[in-house]
Amino acid sequence: MTRIFIPRETTAGSLGAELLVKAIETEAKYRNLDVEIVRNGSRGACWLEPLVEVETAKGRVGYGPVTSEDVADLFDNDFLNGGKHANSLGNVEELDWFKNQQRLTFARCGIIESTNVAEYKSLGGFVGLKNALATDQDGIIQEVLDSGLRGRGGAAFPTGIKWRTVADCEADQKYIVCNADEGDSGTFSDRLIMEGDPLSLVEGMTIAGLAVGATEGYIYLRSEYPLTRIILEDAIANAETAGYLGKDIQGSGKDFTLEVFMGAGAYICGEETSLLESLEGKRGQIRFKPPLPAIEGLYGKPTVVNNVISLASVPVILEKGGKHYAEYGQGRSLGTMPFQLGGNIKKGGLVEVGFGLTLRQLIENFGEGTATGKPVRAIQVGGPLGAYFPESLMDTPLDYEEFAKAGGMLGHGGVVVFDDSVNMAKQARFSMEFCSVESCGKCTPCRIGSVRGMEVIDRIVAAESAEERESEHIVLKDLCDTMESASLCAMGGLTPIPVMSAVKHFPADFNL
């Protein structure tokens, strides 16, 4: 029996993986060959999907990208024994694209059958939980503090400090809420880990529950990810069966239950207070802060709200120690970050490395430039509220503080590349449009300002004289100042960042 790995994962699926599974099954039957198809996640090399790997006597051999049309050919070339084919990759871990990464959070992703507890455990899974059960709340929180882990959802707040706050609250009920809304365009790391190694999120949330004394957890998942939901629910059921979730976890006397909750297509519900409103079944309107969710969160109870990657990084921190994790990265940006290379890029996908690599190294060494082969002109880092950088800022190190110094933000680590056909006035206008579509409507600078913003940008571009253009430019600057200072949350508050960075770095596109 030969084991063949084909990802059950959105990217692979979007490029025909399910058809491929059927084609391989049919062909194997026809040729009377005994194969077992294992559904792993993606290793994150989206440019190689669907990536098929075969377990052979010489180790795992990869072929990619493969479509159902290649199947007969693959069998003819004896791919079940690692035979050569036009799409042969050899051992994919030896490809530079993987070898040059530092995978901690994604160490298992794409390697194991995604929801299989035994395979998860064979690669270090649940060791972190075991260590957590062997220590106390302070012990767990200290490891997380030592790791230097900062929230990967965007705001980069130290995870250990948030946990400390919740742990210190007296309450009859506390909650762990995982923010899996992943609304930022250009980002897909949350999805990849939830589809490829969902048990790491289950384990991370359970450890968070132990750390703060919470017994209930929710994963707030965006509705654009229906396959992710199925995989997560499989993983939760498997963890329950194996005694890693539910009552009396591993005989410890500790309980933790987990449930997936679906969002309904609202970007703003990624903001933590809006998310909590939504989870309570209400309109996703922003709450005033304070009180922080850590103190009054879900149903007014102390609540940890953490991003998927923050939580999925906890198992390896508890397994190998906070200090080990902190050996990666630099300055105040410690550990690794799963960057996501997307847009107009030749080799896009997930690149997990320690902080400190430059944007250029990421785009040129991993991404190998644009998909169209034209020069890179603009890069948006950190989602729709992140700055647009010109080519000249590509040597900025990927580090929270260094990026802030250059006028940008890392956010959730999404990197979207544009070639020289991009029109930056259109991009700036889109930022305003997106804000107007997704505003929760609570405050005027965001709700109305974004609509005015689109109009002003249109007038700048259409202006017939330099004076007219300049006076509209001043209106835009004033409007952005107001949005920045008078918006209740970062939706209205940060929309000026992509807009004004486009004006600053690409004035010609605005005829300025």
């Binding site: 989206c46 449930e259 889109f430």
Partner: protein, 166 residues
């Protein structure tokens, strides 16, 4: 192993059936959201008559239920076409020509966003990121995402779906 649903056939609106579906979630965290999803999955949309019914089930005013339903882009108030096509309008897809693709899809289906093709087969919606940004441009049809979509690819796909539907 559970897979994504293939073609979704919506049932005709039935308030009693909707009440039954919703009642199951009466005690759940955020139950009204779960109920709205369930109702839409079953009937393709949330009928006006569901507002008062959901209010009773979840102990909310009709206005509150309406407020929740209208806040979220997902919840529709009118019956959609057989298939719902969502075309990604966000940045990574823009960088790979999603606007041009969108225009071509609109003219092929003969409808703008929030509309339905005349034959009743396809409703068209905008979506902001499908989380497949390294394989842009992307679209989603019902529950299935498709990557690196071209207009030729879309036409072929649409044709095969129409055949499947009859």
């Amino acid at each position: 192993m559970q897979q994504l649903a293939g073609q979704i056939t919506y049932q005709d609106w039935d308030l009693e059936k909707a009440r039954e579906l919703a009642s199951e979630f009466a005690d759940r965290t955020g139950g009204v959201m779960i109920a709205l999803h369930k109702i839409q999955e079953t009937f393709g949309y949330v009928d006006d008559t569901a507002m008062a019914m959901l209010g009773k089930v979840f102990n909310l005013s009709r206005a509150e239920v309406h407020g929740v339903t209208s806040f979220y882009h997902d919840f529709r108030r009118h019956k959609p076409g057989k298939y719902t096509v969502k075309v990604c309008q966000a940045e990574a897809c823009q960088a790979m020509g999603s606007y041009q693709l969108t225009e071509k899809i609109k003219s092929f289906l003969g409808t703008d966003f929030h509309g339905t093709s005349e034959d009743g087969n396809f409703s068209l919606e905008a979506v902001y990121c499908l989380g497949n940004c390294a394989c842009s441009p992307n679209i989603m049809i019902d529950q299935q995402t498709y990557g690196r979509v071209t207009i030729e690819g879309f036409k072929a796909l649409a044709d095969s779906l129409v055949k499947e539907a009859v």
